[in-house]
């Protein structure tokens, strides 16, 4: 319900890009195994991602484990240095700024982490953890800092009197609230949520997602919401980007994506999610992908999905499809596929090759 309230301002202010990613690449060098160091190999965690995040929206980012979602999140918040490409905030390119010049942007671009246990320093009191953004930037001293921290704790639904407790004394959901309070301390515009609920119980997940929605409404936040649980993303996002092997394969409005997936991988991913309604289970086409996810060290030629795609044709092996809206004639969505699915089309391979 809270979700509905929050969605309206998002659709009103939409269209203005707040964050722009252009061809973002992050390669991790691998340690050469042999004595004779041959060509150095790289793990291509993120390999050319272009993306636009609009002010006030929630952009969901889904994909299998290891597809580069978290790496992309850390590229956006500059926890990782980009191998190439740019990240622009507003009109400023922040991808090459020095640590000092990055500071003002760090304030506007905060992150909520996946692990509610690992992301809070076990040796520090909660008050001091939430005050960290102030301390690190030399803002709000003494009593004012304490007051602000307690306001933040109240904002995320924590008891401000628990200021002097240690993280170990809180539950997973409460810890995630602490992480959220820390992220909101500097009044950011964008919050990157890296699987903020995947480590929590289902009942607590709902609480945190509703809290996120409420805060978005109250503070006018823009979210990049990473998850691998499709029902969570569907509930939380305005638009969704699907990632596969370091690339975005499809991006569309949430309902468009769920009802009419265009990319075969999106369709396979959606069909893998369990349906809560038993009457619908038999109607849905179950697509079981064969084979393993290829190694991001040596990604397949052409379309990265072609070895596992039931629709793959010879063209897919050589030509890398670009993420584009041209091949589907819908302006507000894009898909990286030579043979995108039409409405309700089955995944079975077709023989007609467009001329």
């Amino acid at each position: 319900m809270t979700r509905q309230v929050a969605r309206e301002p998002a659709s009103q202010v939409a269209a203005e890009p707040l964050l722009q990613l252009t061809d973002v690449v992050k390669h991790f060098p691998l340690r050469s195994s042999g004595l004779l160091a041959g060509k150095r190999e790289y793990l291509r965690a993120v390999d050319g991602v272009s993306l636009e995040v609009r002010r006030g929206e929630t952009l969901g980012l889904v994909g299998e484990t290891g597809c580069g979602k978290s790496t992309l999140a850390r590229c956006i918040t500059r926890l990782y240095e980009l191998t190439s490409g740019t990240v622009s905030f507003g009109n400023a390119d922040i991808s090459r700024l020095s640590a000092r010049r990055l500071r003002p942007y760090r304030r506007k671009l905060q992150m909520v982490f996946q692990d509610p246990y690992g992301s809070l320093n076990p040796r520090r009191r909660v008050g001091s953890i939430i005050a960290d953004p102030f301390a690190a930037n030399g803002l709000a001293k003494g009593a004012e800092r304490k007051r602000k921290v307690q306001e933040l704790m109240e904002l995320v639904g924590l008891n401000p009197e628990h200021y002097n407790r240690f993280p170990a004394e809180f539950s997973g959901g409460q810890r995630q609230r602490i992480g959220l309070a820390r992220a909101l301390a500097l009044r950011p515009e964008v919050v990157v949520c890296d699987e903020p609920v995947s480590a929590l119980d289902v009942s607590i997940q709902a609480q945190i997602i509703n809290l996120l929605a409420e805060l978005q409404h109250k503070l006018g936040l823009t979210y990049i919401f990473i998850a691998h649980d499709l029902s969570v993303v569907r509930h939380a996002s305005d638009r969704i980007a699907v990632m596969y092997l370091g690339r975005i394969v499809e991006i569309a409005d949430t309902e468009d994506l769920f009802i009419r997936p265009r990319h075969p991988y999106t369709k396979a991913l959606l069909s893998a999610a369990p349906t809560p309604d038993p009457d619908l289970v038999n109607d849905a086409e179950r697509i079981v992908l064969t084979g393993e996810v290829p190694s991001p060290v040596r990604p397949p030629s052409g379309c990265r999905f072609h070895p596992r795609c039931p629709r793959a044709q010879s063209r897919c092996q050589v030509e890398d499809p670009v993420l584009d809206s041209k091949n589907i004639d819908e302006s507000d969505r894009a898909v990286a596929c030579h043979f995108p699915l039409a409405d309700g089309e089955s995944m079975l391979p077709e023989l007609k090759e467009p001329s």
Binding site: R74, T77, L79, A99, L102, R103, R106, R107, Q110, M111, F113, Q114, D115, G118, S119, L120, N121, P122, R123, R124, R125, D132, P133, A135, A136, N137, N159, E161, H162, Y163, N164, R165, F166, A168, E169, G179, R182, A185, L186
Partner: protein
């Protein structure tokens, strides 16, 4: 465990209630460790022994004054027999005298001053140095780590006694040189421990979180990482104190530490070796002092390690006070 009479329980509950409203305070891992220590008999016993030794060392001049025996004062008539043999324990000399007719008790107490001073100062220096270098090596990794780690390897692989002898012959023996030599040969093992811990801790998400809110390297190293490596460091530091005390005694014993006539346990032991057949007290008392001190510190170190062990007994005991 004994049951508390109900009356006290009620009284306690009533007293706690109003205070709890604005002072909800978690117990830090330090407090927990301290509470565990306080409930450990060995820890309490060894700390008591250490306290007594410290007090005796501090008040050594008072004891000397009361007895009327200075630490370097020679009693050729009363302190030595006609044949020039040291006098055994008695009413004038409680611990007997040494080969020059000096009071062994007073000299053992004065020796404690040197031993504790060197032990604490050298270990402290070694810990500070080791923590800083270990933090830097672990945190920055790469070239910085390679250089610092290899340097630690070199220090650890030096034959320290031979090197110490060479160093002392170059600089001349003194208290300062002893402290410097001991610290120099001890910091590397602290550095290694810290570096290893830092390597694992810096991968934790809370370090990324600190970076994402704009914390600089120094802040991350000292505010976020250091508190997490302090526990093993403190455990090692408590173990390092007795090692340093023994190290100092070794140097003094070899005549390259603190020079005579200043009383140190090592000096006294080395002077006593010619007399151990005729004057057992001359070797026994400084030896015992060394043994008791190092043992007390070692036992305390063991207890500190247990107290910081997260898998140790959970404490359900209430903290009074």
């Amino acid at each position: 465990m004994t049951l508390t009479p109900p009356a006290t329980v009620e009284a306690a509950a009533v007293r706690v209630e109003p205070a709890a409203a604005d002072t909800i305070e978690g117990r830090s891992p330090w407090q927990l460790a301290f509470v565990r220590l306080r409930h450990d008999r060995v820890a309490v016993g060894s700390s008591a022994v250490i306290c007594i030794i410290v007090l005796l060392a501090v008040f050594a001049p008072v004891v000397a004054h009361l007895l009327g025996h200075g630490p370097n004062q020679q009693f050729r008539t009363t302190g030595l027999s006609a044949e020039g043999i040291p006098v055994g324990p008695g009413s004038t000399f409680l611990f007997g005298t040494d080969d020059l007719g000096r009071d062994v008790l007073v000299r053992v107490l004065y020796g404690a001053r040197i031993s504790l001073l060197v032990g604490v100062v050298a270990s402290g220096l070694a810990v500070v140095l080791g923590v800083i270098i270990g933090l830097a090596a672990g945190y920055f990794s790469g070239a910085v780590d390679t250089v610092l780690s290899r340097f630690m390897d070199v220090v650890l692989s030096l034959p320290y006694l031979i090197f110490a002898i060479a160093l002392v012959s170059l600089l001349g023996p003194s208290l300062m040189v002893s402290v410097a030599v001991i610290a120099f040969f001890s910091w590397a093992s602290v550095g290694r421990i810290v570096r290893g811990q830092v390597l694992s801790i810096k991968e934790k998400e809370f370090v990324e979180a600190a970076r994402s809110v704009g914390a600089g390297h120094l802040r991350i190293m000292f505010v976020d990482i250091l508190p997490n490596v302090l526990a093993p460091t403190i455990v090692y530091a408590t173990m390092l104190i007795p090692l340093s005390i023994v190290f100092e005694s070794t140097l003094s014993f070899l005549g390259i530490g603190v020079l005579p006539p200043t009383a140190t346990w090592g000096n006294m032991l080395s002077e006593s070796i010619a007399y151990y057949r005729v004057a057992w007290w001359f070797v026994a008392f400084p030896g015992l002092a060394l043994l008791i001190t190092t043992m007390a510190f070692n036992l305390l170190g063991d207890c500190v390690r247990d107290a910081f062990d997260p898998r140790g007994n959970r404490l359900f005991v209430a903290v009074e006070d």
